[in-house]
């Protein structure tokens, strides 16, 4: 059942990092982002990854196996690499939009910004809150997973509404996010330090996942 594979953590991290990657949600330069990933500066999960003696691992054989390719993924992915700012027509358009949103600028102020001629609607690709919202809707192609449903509870006296999403849809949504691509873990494993002691850290290194894996 279990196979013992011992290899250097660092090497395994480097292996899947040489590919092109999508722009980060914060809007950093694409090549900067790739460089980030290649040197693993983004997430430092294993402190002892640098010491070559550390990091013996036992993998759960057959867990997280790939059973196929996602339809249209290549297309989606190459689109993302070719045009990282889509659906915005320029880097400036993207950055202005994220500045508006992160700065919590109100809708009326955004409209004012364009109507008073402060912004260059031509180069950013939108000219009002309304057209900006249309762009934003396109930004999340998987939002259909997050649809809300309404239910009713009756407590004997009143009928109250409540709202819920499809739990499986939420899982699908999260697993599908390209932004998490390099962080997602698909299989449990046991990790050991240089003295051979079991390390319990992230969820996939503890017992629960290993026990429940089929």
């Amino acid at each position: 059942m279990e196979s013992s594979v011992s290899h250097n953590l660092e090497a395994s991290e480097r292996q899947d990092s040489d590919c092109e990657s999508d722009p980060g949600p914060a809007g950093s330069e694409p090549d900067e982002f790739c460089r980030d990933i290649a040197y693993g500066s983004d997430t430092e999960v294993f402190d002892d990854a640098t010491s070559p003696s550390a990091g013996k691992q036992i993998h759960y054989e057959g867990a997280g196996q790939v059973i196929g390719d996602v339809d249209g993924f290549e297309h989606e992915y190459s689109n993302l690499c070719d045009d990282p700012w889509a659906p915005f027509n320029s880097e400036q358009g993207f950055k202005l939009a994220s500045w508006f949103i992160e700065g919590k600028v109100s809708k009326s102020r955004i409209n004012q910004y364009f109507s008073s001629g402060l912004g260059d609607a031509e180069s950013v690709g939108y000219s009002s809150m309304h057209t900006l919202e249309n762009h934003l809707r396109l930004l999340d192609p998987y939002s259909q997973y997050l649809q809300w449903f309404e239910g009713q509870v009756e407590d004997g006296q009143r009928t109250l509404p409540f709202f819920y999403r499809n739990a499986l849809g939420c899982v699908r949504y999260l697993l599908r996010q390209i932004a998490y691509r390099d962080d997602l873990v698909y299989a449990p494993r046991h990790e050991y330090d240089s003295t051979g002691q079991r390390i319990y850290a992230e969820m996939h290194t503890a017992d629960w996942w290993w026990d429940v894996q089929v």
């Binding site: 739990a167 698909y186 319990y200």
Partner: protein, 387 residues
């Protein structure tokens, strides 16, 4: 293969009960950073009204509420029920399809919510069958709760009065409702409960420790010395200098409690300097007790553990229990307290017990979403104030 860590929280005066969902496939650093948007709102439920314990009508209402809660969560969990055994093909972020088994693995909430969801009385432990009178002791050997078994026993107990001692203890702690998780496939309801830093340590034990310390200082006439040192704390990177004497702070936040954990031992040691003849031993014990708790807290924050570090934590815990008697007189005091206070006391002791579950639980799963929990609480506080 994938699974979720859920979290519920009551928010300010908005009277809604949000339920969140996330996946364990993401490393916790990524999952818990606020900008990653990895925690989704799964449901927004109305809060069941508070009911008095005595009246018959309320008792009936309580039953209705419990059943309603059960129905609502069954509806929410329904999509996961079908795929727990068979799995389902899910598109993953790397462009590959994998057979996934989304299984609920943890539920993070405060104690009151946990007991409500598990169908227990407020003074019960969601994890094991520790009897009420042993709460707050170092008992660690009690049987894990078997919620499926409770469901079988419950209907019978209502009719026949004959039950073994064992079952009596078991059913003693059961509330009116059912455990809402017990019908979920491949989910072990007693494993869902996870201790977290905020509720268990900061709002739980630290808070009570401060009460004890206050009483202790008062008795030995060191309260003023303590306040002086407290206010004189110098600034340090990453450390928030307390602005008020600690008695003047009425509402503690997670962040402040963390600060407290960093400085309390030093402050206390200075406040208790130069003990008089009869004070030497109690001062030593008090410091030892606080140190054990602070050490435990520090170690609980480790990002990864080995059996060595867990053994350390268990040692600190033993140490704490050995020395805590010094504070005994400052723990629950007047016997004349009314019923409400008694209830509170139970919860307080309950918390002291719950912390013992931290260490074993760590073996099962590390890194509960304590920071997430704190973030959410802070958010809720902000929201509560702004409305």
């Amino acid at each position: 293969m994938s699974d979720q860590t859920n979290l519920t929280n009551f928010s300010g005066d908005k009277k809604a009960w949000p339920v969140y969902i996330t996946i364990g496939n993401l490393p916790s650093a990524r999952r818990n950073s606020p900008g990653s948007m990895a925690v989704l709102l799964l449901a927004l439920l109305p809060i069941p009204p508070k009911l008095s314990k005595s009246s018959k009508a309320d008792q009936r209402q309580r039953k209705i509420n419990a059943d309603t809660l059960q129905d609502v969560f069954e509806l929410i969990f329904a999509p996961l029920q079908d795929v727990a055994h068979t799995g389902i093909a899910i598109d993953c972020a790397d462009g590959k399809v994998r057979q996934c088994f989304p299984i609920l693995s943890a539920w993070i909430a405060d104690h009151m919510e946990n007991v409500a969801l598990h169908g227990l009385k407020t003074n019960a432990c969601p994890k094991c069958e520790v009897p009420t009178h042993e709460l707050g002791t170092n008992a660690r050997s009690h049987r894990t709760r078997d919620y499926a078994r409770y469901q079988r026993y419950k209907p019978e107990n209502q009719n026949s009065g004959s039950e073994s001692d064992d079952d009596h203890i078991m059913c003693d702690n059961l509330g009116i409702g059912q455990n809402i998780f017990h019908r979920l496939d491949r989910v072990s309801a007693s494993d869902l409960y996870k201790p977290d830093m905020l509720h268990t340590i900061y709002l739980g034990l630290f808070k009570h420790m401060m009460d004890w310390i206050e009483g202790f200082l008062k008795k030995h006439g060191r309260l003023q010395a303590f306040d002086d040192v407290w206010k004189a704390l110098p600034p340090y990177p990453g450390f928030l200098v307390p602005k008020k004497a600690y008695r003047e702070v009425t509402q503690w936040q997670g962040k402040e409690m963390r600060n407290l954990g960093r400085c309390i031992l030093g402050v206390l040691a200075v406040a208790l300097r130069q003990p008089g003849g009869a004070q030497v031993i109690p001062f030593k014990r008090a410091l030892g007790c606080v140190r054990a708790l602070v050490d435990f807290n520090m170690m609980a924050q480790y990002r990864s553990h080995t059996s060595d570090t867990i053994a350390y934590m268990e040692d600190y815990l033993d140490q704490f229990h050995k020395l805590k008697d010094i504070f005994l007189e400052f723990r629950v005091t007047k016997r004349t307290q009314d019923k409400v206070d008694k209830q509170r006391k139970e919860i307080r002791r309950q918390r002291a017990l719950v912390i013992e579950r931290v260490a074993p639980s760590l073996r099962r799963r590390m890194r509960d979403d304590n920071r997430q929990e704190e973030n959410d609480l802070c958010l809720d506080l902000v929201r509560g104030e702004s409305h």
